[in-house]
């Protein structure tokens, strides 16, 4: 393979990885933007999303097959179910803690994450589940670069979801309310916005995007595990910070940047794939130290 081929192949790999990161990062950034909560359980919602998708797919595969129609159906169901789960978590665990010190709400979020991941572990006995689909291995063969149709469809659907989200946030009244709450909650209340409902809606959208990423990752990697939310949660947070936490286009950009960096990072001599995670966590730490506002974030002035 020539150098150009390697670059193109890693570009393709980086894009698909990046679109998963971006989908999960969106949930982080939306929730953070609106109530300043670092939702540790977000990565686990991605994991739960994958498992719900798997469950639905195995139930309906007799009816619709396990090809794209079945996958789409299970993805939609998983998005609805996990979105609802996100709202329930917000109601039970986060609403009572909003006025508490920040340390308490962080620990609460951590506890929610433990309950979700260990709950799934108890159900699945900690085993890997094979996510079987009928998708073939055909794809575009561009010389030495190979891109499967699955990869292509996944990247396109991830982009579609992001475009829909962008339009929703910027063109609808609900989106406007969301952006307003991120700026000043009390003023929104005075303007007659139902703040609690909008926050719940934010959780719903963020969680369902994570679920969509979970189902896509299940299709792409072909296996599911209860612990898969942990690393991606951390990576997606990195992506959100790269783009500037609280910024929706930032999360998309950050996800893609991180995916590409990882794909190309493994090509640097002496840095094997076992160092991939060190690479991105190290990047996160350096970024938080030197540019905590990220690429598209605004400098935040903390009010006393």
């Amino acid at each position: 393979m020539s150098n150009l081929d390697i670059i193109l192949q890693q570009l393709a790999n980086g894009l698909i990885l990046g679109s998963f990161y971006a989908l999960v990062a969106l949930g982080y950034t939306m929730v953070y933007g609106i109530i300043k909560l670092l939702n540790f359980a977000h990565g686990d919602l991605y994991m739960v999303g994958g498992f719900v998708g798997f469950l639905v797919l195995s139930l309906i595969s007799g009816l619709m097959g396990s090809s794209w129609a079945g996958i789409l159906c299970s993805m939609v169901f998983s998005m609805l179910a996990v979105g609802l789960l996100g709202v329930i978590i917000q109601r039970i665990a986060y609403v009572p803690m909003l006025r508490a010190p920040r340390l308490s709400i962080l620990i609460t979020a951590l506890a929610v994450s433990m309950v979700l991941s260990n709950g799934v572990m108890a159900i699945t006995d900690g085993e890997y589940l094979a996510f079987n689909t009928d998708l073939g291995y055909e794809g575009l063969d561009l010389g030495n670069v190979f891109i499967s149709y699955t990869q292509l469809v996944l990247v396109v659907s991830a982009s579609l979801l992001m475009i829909i989200l962008y339009l929703f946030v910027h063109k609808t009244l609900y989106g406007k309310a969301m952006r307003a709450i991120a700026i000043d909650q009390d003023a929104c209340r005075l303007m007659g916005i139902n703040v609690n409902r909008i926050i719940a809606l934010t959780f719903f959208i963020g969680s369902s995007l994570a679920a969509a990423a979970g189902v896509m990752a299940g299709v792409y990697y072909g296996s599911l595990h209860f612990f898969m939310g942990f690393v991606i949660g951390l990576k997606a947070f990195t992506a959100a910070v790269i783009g500037g936490i609280g910024s929706i286009p930032g999360a998309m950009l950050g996800g893609l940047v991180l995916g590409l960096l990882e794909a190309f990072g493994t090509q640097i001599p002496f840095i094997g794939s076992e160092w991939k995670d060190v690479f991105s966590f190290g990047l996160l730490i350096l970024l938080l130290i030197f540019k905590p506002t990220g690429l598209l974030g605004k400098t935040e002035i903390e009010r006393m």
Partner: protein, 320 residues
């Protein structure tokens, strides 16, 4: 009526320093004598409980006193354990000489990670420490000197005054003494000038800074002292187990230690000790739960945070 008056009388009785000392001495005596009457299994469990007491007290300084969330505490414990392990098994250094090195290394790790990040918002700090914990574990798994994924084996047992520390009872006393030392240091710190500065920063960072408390320096002290506790515990852990592997220092380990701190009530020494014991004894008592252990811990943690955030044994507000 009678019950409540008796209760007040007990707390009244406990109020003078002298009476508290009596209780403490009795408890210390029980802890000292208990190995003489229990079997090896119970001894092992209790040793483990004292070990977690040290770790929880160390994390308590960071989380309880200074109010900083550290999700990578196992990293400091790993640095201590690996430093001792490498120096004794690869370079043949005497165990007792490795302790200052290991403690300096873990304090240095605390400084490296805390120094730049403590200026950040507290939730960023949580995620940075989480990432740092993972980095330390992955490095330990991939380097040759740390023995890779299988870890280090054949770490020599230390000896003191010609007595080789090899039996369970020896390590019981080692960890008991360390735990008592940790309690003493925590207690002295709590009411020191630094301890009060931590409390102030925890309650209101801006006001503390306005009063002339160096916010970053004070937090850094908490971080480094917490790292020191972890480092010491790590050293003795390495020689007790004689083998260490990267999988001991996972994120779940850090969460477990944090749970011990939260369970008993952040910032309160007896509460943290109770938390550490609950952490170790609970899975031993309920053996049948197996893999459900962490799920139940998670639910307990959630319930505590929602309904009793001050823990089982909360800290009394100090009157200013």
């Amino acid at each position: 009526m009678a019950g409540s008056s008796r209760l007040t009388s007990v707390s009244d009785w406990l109020r003078p320093q002298q009476n508290r000392m009596i209780v403490l001495l009795v408890l210390a005596g029980v802890a000292m004598l208990i190995p003489l009457v229990v079997n090896n299994y119970v001894l092992e469990v209790l040793t483990n409980a004292w070990f977690y007491t040290i770790l929880c007290l160390g994390l308590n300084i960071v989380v309880g006193y200074a109010g900083l969330l550290d999700l990578g505490y196992a990293a400091f414990f790993a640095v201590g354990a690996y430093t001792t392990g490498i120096l004794t098994s690869k370079f043949g250094v005497n165990f007792w000489l490795t302790i200052p090195v290991a403690v300096s290394c873990s304090m240095l790790a605390g400084l490296i990670i805390g120094g730049p990040t403590l200026r950040l918002r507290s939730d960023y700090l949580a995620i940075v420490t989480l990432g740092f914990g993972e980095i330390v574990r992955i490095i330990a798994r991939n380097l040759d000197i740390t023995g890779g994924a299988s870890g280090l084996i054949g770490i020599d047992r230390p000896s003191i005054f010609g007595l080789e520390l090899s039996r369970g009872i020896h390590f019981y006393y080692v960890f008991l003494l360390l735990a008592i030392l940790a309690c003493f240091v925590s207690y002295r710190l709590q009411n020191s000038r630094l301890g009060r500065a931590w409390q102030y920063v925890r309650e209101d960072e801006d006001a503390a800074e306005a009063m002339g408390i160096g916010r970053v320096a004070v937090k850094l002290y908490a971080y480094v002292i917490g790292a020191m506790f972890g480092g010491v515990a790590g050293c003795f852990f390495a020689v007790k187990m004689t083998a260490i592997s990267p999988e001991t220092f996972t994120f779940s380990q850090s969460v477990l230690i944090l749970l011990g701190v939260v369970l008993g009530g952040m910032g309160k020494i007896p509460g943290v000790i109770i938390g550490a014991f609950a952490l170790v004894l609970f899975p031993e008592v309920f053996r049948g739960l197996g893999s459900m252990r962490m799920l139940i811990f998670g639910i307990v943690m959630l319930v505590i945070m929602l309904y009793r955030p001050e823990g089982i044994w909360p800290q009394k507000q100090r009157e200013m």
